[in-house]
């Protein structure tokens, strides 16, 4: 969309997940916006090509209320159904199958939550569900802990992307453990997409500088004072962090080094 993004296309290879290629390294959630217009404005500003959706009951008493598909242009954005709210592998598998049955995609953002207060993942249940869903032919993008061993097992299970958290969902605490994220990225071949916890643009920028392949966020944009403006900030920050990672930062020095010549001074 921006000249910069076009330049990016020249400077960076696309993000490839399950054989599909994307220019944007930002994936957006569609929850918690004050209205659909703001949601669409934010998604557009962010440049995201993939958006997540949740599977829920139709409200039979207000059938006028349309589902989110009524608002999302499916030519423009790829849907990524999630299993948010599932606390067992069995539930997550059921929601994944319902999401696939809608007929748009066999991709699933797999969440198996282990604790209501923190929404932190249950690694045991997650691995069980991932193995089953991969066997059923799903393309699984797995929301997980910043846990290297779990990440390696998810990759071995055949998931299409591993999505470790930066900090708890909706917390906005940012990247609490860059070391673990760097470690996970250094050991995996499938894309590593940091999911949850990013709170502000510098969090996104620093996260991309760890070398990860992308970021998935929702609350940081939806709960900003101006979501559309923050979405643009996040687009810029994600591109900046990626470019900075590719450009190769200067070495840190505890010693200062002048930027101006030390010779040619006057007497």
């Amino acid at each position: 969309m921006t000249v910069t993004t076009e330049r990016l296309a020249a400077l960076d290879e696309p993000l490839e997940i399950a054989g599909r290629r994307f220019r944007s390294r930002l994936i957006l959630g569609t929850g918690k916006y004050k209205d659909n217009e703001t949601m669409i404005g934010a998604i557009s500003a962010s440049g995201a090509e993939i958006v997540t959706v949740a599977v829920r009951r139709v409200d039979l008493d207000r059938t006028k209320e349309e589902g989110i598909l009524y608002h999302l242009d499916r030519e423009r954005w790829s849907l990524l159904p999630n299993t948010a709210g599932c606390y067992t592998a069995e539930d997550a598998i059921r929601y994944a199958e319902l999401g696939r049955a809608a007929g748009f995609t066999d991709w699933i953002k797999l969440e198996v939550i282990g604790d209501e207060d923190t929404l932190l993942p249950d690694v045991e249940g997650l691995l069980e569900a991932a193995r089953t869903l991969v066997a059923e032919g799903f393309k699984v993008l797995a929301y997980t802990n910043e846990d290297l061993v779990a990440a390696l097992k998810l990759e071995a299970a055949g998931v299409s992307a591993v999505m470790p958290l930066a900090s708890p969902i909706g917390s906005g605490l940012g990247l609490l453990n860059p070391f673990n994220i760097r470690l996970i990225k250094s050991r995996l071949s499938v894309p590593v997409i940091v999911d949850a916890g990013v709170g502000t643009a510098s969090d996104a920028c620093m996260t991309m500088e760890q070398g990860v392949d992308g970021i998935l966020m929702n609350t940081a944009i939806a709960a900003a004072r101006d979501p559309v403006q923050m979405a643009l900030a996040m687009k810029q920050a994600t591109e900046a962090g990626r470019l900075s990672y590719l450009a190769g930062r200067m070495p840190r020095r505890e010693q200062a080094v002048p930027s101006s010549p030390t010779t040619g001074m006057l007497d």
Binding site: G29, A54, R57, V58, L60, A102, G103, I169
Partner: protein, 74 residues
């Protein structure tokens, strides 16, 4: 939906007991609920019904039906 008189049956719809006319197919039910033009996924007694079966699969008394769709989520 045939036009002969029908008695109503009780099914569990999205967690609530509801009276619906007897002898409905899934298609009939969606029409009955004004959801026929909506992309809704139907689960009957914990089994997902494929779209192309909507016209055949009948709704029986006591069925547990879940009608789901996509909503905003992260």
């Amino acid at each position: 939906m045939n036009d002969t008189i029908q008695e109503t049956i009780t099914v569990t719809l999205n967690g609530e007991e509801r009276q619906v006319p007897g002898g409905l197919t899934v298609s009939d039910l969606l029409a009955h609920l004004n959801l026929h033009d909506r992309s809704v996924v139907v689960e009957r007694n914990r089994e997902i019904i494929r779209r192309d079966e909507y016209a055949e699969v009948a709704i029986d008394a006591g069925d547990t039906i879940e009608l789901v769709h996509f909503v905003g989520g992260g």
